[in-house]
């Protein structure tokens, strides 16, 4: 069942992205930024966690989860360490994704020749 919801919710978020491309005529960079901020705001009001529980990877794989993780790290450390946690906690949860993307991309650039 979770697979079905992962497909529907994940597809739905991509559909919103496509509408922002085609109907609102945003550039990809604007669309992605908007989705990240949207994910952050949704987590800020506490709705993203239930969505993850419900849709699994459908909520964690789209870029909106990046905003969610940033907020989540900040709020977790805010609770634990006080106000400084807002600064120190932001990359707490996201570091895996960003580190992986940097490392793999760097290694790829070392070995792969650009294609026309």
């Amino acid at each position: 069942m979770q697979y079905l919801w992962a497909f529907i919710i994940g597809g739905g978020i991509c559909l919103i992205g496509q509408l922002l491309f085609d109907v609102v005529k945003l550039t990809p960079a604007h669309t992605m930024s908007l989705l990240v901020v949207a994910g952050a705001v949704v987590d800020g009001i506490g709705w993203y966690e239930p969505l993850i529980k419900f849709a699994g990877a459908g909520a964690t794989v789209p870029i909106t989860s990046f905003g969610n993780s940033l907020v989540h790290g900040a709020l977790t450390e805010l609770q634990r360490d006080g106000w400084i946690g807002v600064i120190t906690g932001i990359f707490e949860v996201t570091s895996a994704g960003i580190s992986a993307a940097i490392i793999f991309s760097f290694l790829a650039a070392l070995v792969v020749k650009p294609k026309g």
């Binding site: 978020i13 559909l15 496509q18 085609d22 990240v36 793999f104």
Partner: protein, 166 residues
């Protein structure tokens, strides 16, 4: 605006080879709506959903194989999705799918990795520091900047309201 089928044929048969820029523009415009918003959205939904489905499979694999909780499995899942995306980008496959799938491949985290990886590869010739290092975040940078600023603002709001974390 879908062009009249009969009119289309006429435009081509009258001037197949020599078109002025203006004529070409009109000619191209007639053909552009072939990819309707509806079709784009359907493809984005299906491809995006399929990528999330793969993600769910990877996550369940981590949960089953290493006894992780759903929360612990999140990070390795994202890392695996990014690795897959980087490999497909290196093979030139991801960009081919992306041209067709639009937001379906751009919105998942794989699209984020794709933008970084292709920028890194593209600028390799400018050197490791000025090319790969400096240009890698050309597209991904805006996502990180706005994500971090938004997270900071939300964190401050929570702090001011005294909600703390959830």
């Amino acid at each position: 605006m879908p062009a009249n089928e009969a009119d289309r044929g006429k435009t081509i048969s009258y001037k197949p080879l020599s078109m002025s820029a203006k004529e070409y523009k009109a000619f191209a415009k007639n053909r552009e709506p072939a990819r309707s918003v509806f079709r784009n959205c359907a493809i984005a939904f299906l491809v995006g959903g399929a990528i999330c489905l793969i993600g769910q499979g990877v996550q369940d694999f981590f949960i089953a194989a290493f006894g992780m909780t759903e929360r612990q499995a999140g990070n390795p899942t994202v890392a695996v999705m990014i690795l897959i995306s980087v490999i497909l980008t290196c093979l030139g496959v991801y960009d081919k799918i992306a041209q067709w799938a639009g937001a379906g491949t751009a919105v998942p985290v794989t699209g984020f990795a794709n933008s970084m990886c292709s920028a890194a590869i593209e600028h390799r010739s400018e050197g490791l520091v000025l090319g790969v290092g400096a240009q890698m975040f050309k597209l991904a940078g805006s996502v990180i900047v706005f994500g971090v600023v938004a997270a900071f603002v939300i964190g401050i709001i929570h702090w001011l309201l005294g909600i703390g974390g959830q």
